[in-house]
């Protein structure tokens, strides 16, 4: 099978990989470059747990063909922290008990960070809409919404965008 070279930026670092025809971005991130923070939940774009940012916009990495991200800026939960300092969203998720099994959390954090980047003072409805593509089966939506609102107050936009 023919492989294609693809270069992109992942959380600010340059990456160069060979990808298969039809290989999705989720697989390339996890197995190609070893960023395990985006998760596989459905492989068909319905659960949102594989959400990453491509040039600042949230995308479902299981539905993105890897060869289309040439030259793009990709952001994942692995890039949220500043050294050992947690991002305000991460702090708010911890303080607000917004993670139970934790499997949807990286996708939620990406959807939330995209929201805060374009709207530093979102309403509750804005937050609900922003995470409406992300399923939490532990049914912890209320703490998640509250945590995102708390992070916005705490300057969640500070570094992201």
């Amino acid at each position: 099978m023919a492989k294609k070279p693809v270069q992109f930026h992942l959380n600010g670092s340059e990456k160069a990989v060979f990808v298969d025809d039809g290989q999705n971005l989720l697989d390339v991130l996890r197995r190609g470059v070893g960023d395990l923070t985006p998760k596989y939940g459905c492989g068909q774009g319905t659960c949102g747990t594989c959400t990453v940012l491509i040039d600042g916009e949230p995308h479902l990495s299981c539905l993105v063909l890897a060869e289309t991200v040439e030259g793009k800026q990709i952001s994942t939960t692995a890039g949220l922290q500043n050294g050992s300092e947690l991002h305000p969203l991460q702090k708010a998720f911890m303080d607000g008990f917004a993670a139970q099994c934790g499997y949807c959390t990286p996708g939620m954090l990406m959807a939330a960070s995209a929201l805060l980047a374009r709207n530093s003072n979102p309403s509750r409805e804005d937050v609900v809409e922003a995470i409406s593509g992300n399923i939490c089966r532990c049914t912890g939506y209320e703490p998640i919404i509250n945590a995102i609102l708390a992070a916005a107050k705490d300057g969640g936009v500070r570094r992201y965008g």
Partner: protein, 557 residues
């Protein structure tokens, strides 16, 4: 988030001078979760990882005439294809490890399939895509059989046999009965005494747990001829023991690592991914991953089973319930898994949080050609609680009293005898009703408001009935209770004689006492000193030889 405590109800029972309990505390895994570093099973990378995909039945019920893997084996990337012949001990039931139930489920079926999606072969290939392509090239010659998808149809005479180990399509309890029994007092006498008889039929569909992380496991060779297994299981030692049994492999060759589960809700207790992954590694010598895709998770992943309940209450005009009879059917799907246990648990819960002097239950674990059912959040209790509470509303409506007051009137109180012959303690249903009414601005009578779980319980309510009507309906012969754990060759399971066909199963069920008692006492009358139940007829007398596990209620030996 604010938590509202009502500690005063249990003030004499608890010490609140505690460092952790009652206070919010940070989850120990929260940092891993928010940084995306929590190690789920699929977050372990292996060079040369092989992928397993199963060939699954498109039919609910079919005989397997032939499996032809020759074309699939020649597909690019295919390393090996395994079938049931490659599984060293290809029959298991999860709870055999607790000496409960007969082995009834293969890892890969060889002769017939009993539910849609049942696996019959597994392709091990260099990529998931190669495995999927090869699965499509495996040819199975099916002989479709009539399927039965409804619990009551499954136990009619002449219904297709779903599970050969239980030819009556019913799990056999204690080697004796085709259902789990509960007898407390004399329910027919209670109905005779009641002002009204109120009946209802309730049912719920199967419910898929649908965890965000699908079920799966990765196995890899480890040093010293061992296997390391990363798994999403919720029950690490069930999974380890099941793997050990199916693959006839000493458990000290299995190094299982779990603990980080991306949502389970019960569906990852018996998922059978670990034995399949280890089998793949055993035959290829390479790391193997077996993971459900989303479609498999929804279709093949074991759900909470469907249930159907028939309730019949004898009620006095003032709302007191004097007799309650249950006939319940759990849809176990094609195999037992945990449904047998769900029923033991559910029957221990009957008749719900109420004190009713006469209770009767026959609860059946029925095999149908549906996906095998398993655990899910309170399974065994949730379905019958729905039936009980829906029925309580119906009773309230038909008797014409307030539904919350009906519950307070019939609520169990401290010191009352439960139908499973344990004293109720720490009861708080009345207080829960008070709080619910208060929050809903629901007016209660002064009498209901003054009721308390701490008062008016016990005494006559704390006694086992003088007479309990017993019977042997549903008796089956030819079954030893189980044999695996005891390795008792003489008690190896025998094919069973099916239940007598003449038996009717619900409503006007002819209850045949073992013998006619000289006098049938009426439950509402005071104790009748003249009547002494003959010892053999009285399960009311505690059977002290039998001990029960406090956790599961399963019979111990």
């Amino acid at each position: 988030m604010t938590i509202e405590f009502r500690k005063e109800y249990f003030a004499d029972e608890r010490d609140d001078n505690l460092n952790e309990i009652g206070k919010p505390t940070q989850r120990q895994d929260a940092l891993g979760h928010v940084t995306g570093r929590s190690p789920y099973f699929d977050d372990h990378l292996f060079n040369g990882l092989l992928h397993i995909r199963c060939v699954r039945s498109p039919h609910h019920h079919a005989r397997i005439r032939r499996i032809d893997t020759s074309e699939a084996e020649r597909m690019p990337g295919v390393v090996r294809i395994v079938t049931g012949k490659d599984v060293p001990h290809n029959l298991n039931t999860l709870l055999s490890l607790l000496d409960f139930g007969l082995d009834d489920e293969p890892l890969l079926s060889e002769k017939k399939v009993s539910y849609k999606g049942e696996p019959v072969a597994a392709v091990i290939a260099e990529s998931d895509r190669a495995a999927r392509d090869a699965v499509a090239k495996v040819r199975v010659d099916w002989e479709e059989l009539p399927a039965v998808l409804d619990v009551e149809d499954a136990i009619k005479p002449g219904a297709p046999v779903v599970n050969e180990v239980y030819p009556g399509n019913l799990f056999v309890y204690h080697g004796k009965y085709d259902h789990q029994k509960l007898r407390f007092g004399d329910v027919e006498a209670g109905f005779a005494q009641a002002d009204k008889i109120i009946e209802g039929r309730y049912q719920m569909s199967p419910i898929e747990q649908a965890p965000t992380e699908t079920c799966g496991a990765i196995a890899a060779p480890e040093t010293n001829d061992r296997f390391v297994v990363y798994t999403s299981t919720q029950a690490l030692f069930f999974s380890l023991d099941t793997t050990s049994k199916l693959l006839k492999m000493p458990s000290n060759r299995l190094h299982f690592i779990g603990g980080t589960v991306g949502g389970g809700f019960g569906g990852k207790v018996d998922s059978l991914h670990e034995p399949m992954a280890v089998l793949g590694t055993l035959v290829t010598g390479k790391p193997c991953k077996y993971i459900f895709d989303r479609e498999e998770e929804m279709q093949v992943g074991a759900p909470r089973g469907a249930e159907r309940w028939y309730l019949k209450d004898g009620v006095m005009n003032d709302g007191r319930i004097v007799a309650r009879k249950f006939i319940g059917y759990f849809d176990s799907g094609a195999y037992t898994r945990l449904s047998s246990y769900a029923i033991i648990k559910g029957v221990g819960h009957l008749p719900g949080p109420y004190t009713i002097p006469n209770v009767y239950a026959d609860v059946y674990c029925v095999f149908t050609n549906r996906t095998p059912a398993t655990a899910m959040r309170g399974f065994g209790i949730t379905g019958v609680d729905f039936a009980i509470e829906a029925h309580m509303d119906k009773v309230a409506y038909e008797v014409g009293i307030d539904p919350i007051e009906l519950r307070i009137l019939n609520a169990y109180r401290d010191g009352d005898m439960k139908a499973h012959r344990r004293l109720a303690k720490n009861t708080a249903l009345i207080e829960c009703c008070h709080v619910a009414a208060e929050k809903a601005n629901w007016a209660l009578s002064a009498q209901a408001q003054q009721a308390s779980s701490l008062r008016d319980g016990g005494g006559e309510r704390g006694k086992i009935p003088n007479y309990t009507a017993t019977d042997q309906n549903g008796l089956v012969t030819g079954f030893a209770s189980t044999a695996y754990a005891r390795k008792n060759k003489r008690n190896d399971p025998q094919p069973a004689a099916p239940a007598p066909a003449s038996m009717s199963r619900h409503d006007s069920m002819p209850v045949t006492p073992r013998y006619e008692p000289p006098v049938r006492p009426q439950p509402a009358q005071p104790a009748q000193p003249a009547y002494t139940p003959p010892p053999a007829a009285a399960p009311a007398a505690p059977e002290r030889r039998t001990s029960f596990s406090s956790i599961s209620g399963l019979r111990r030996r």
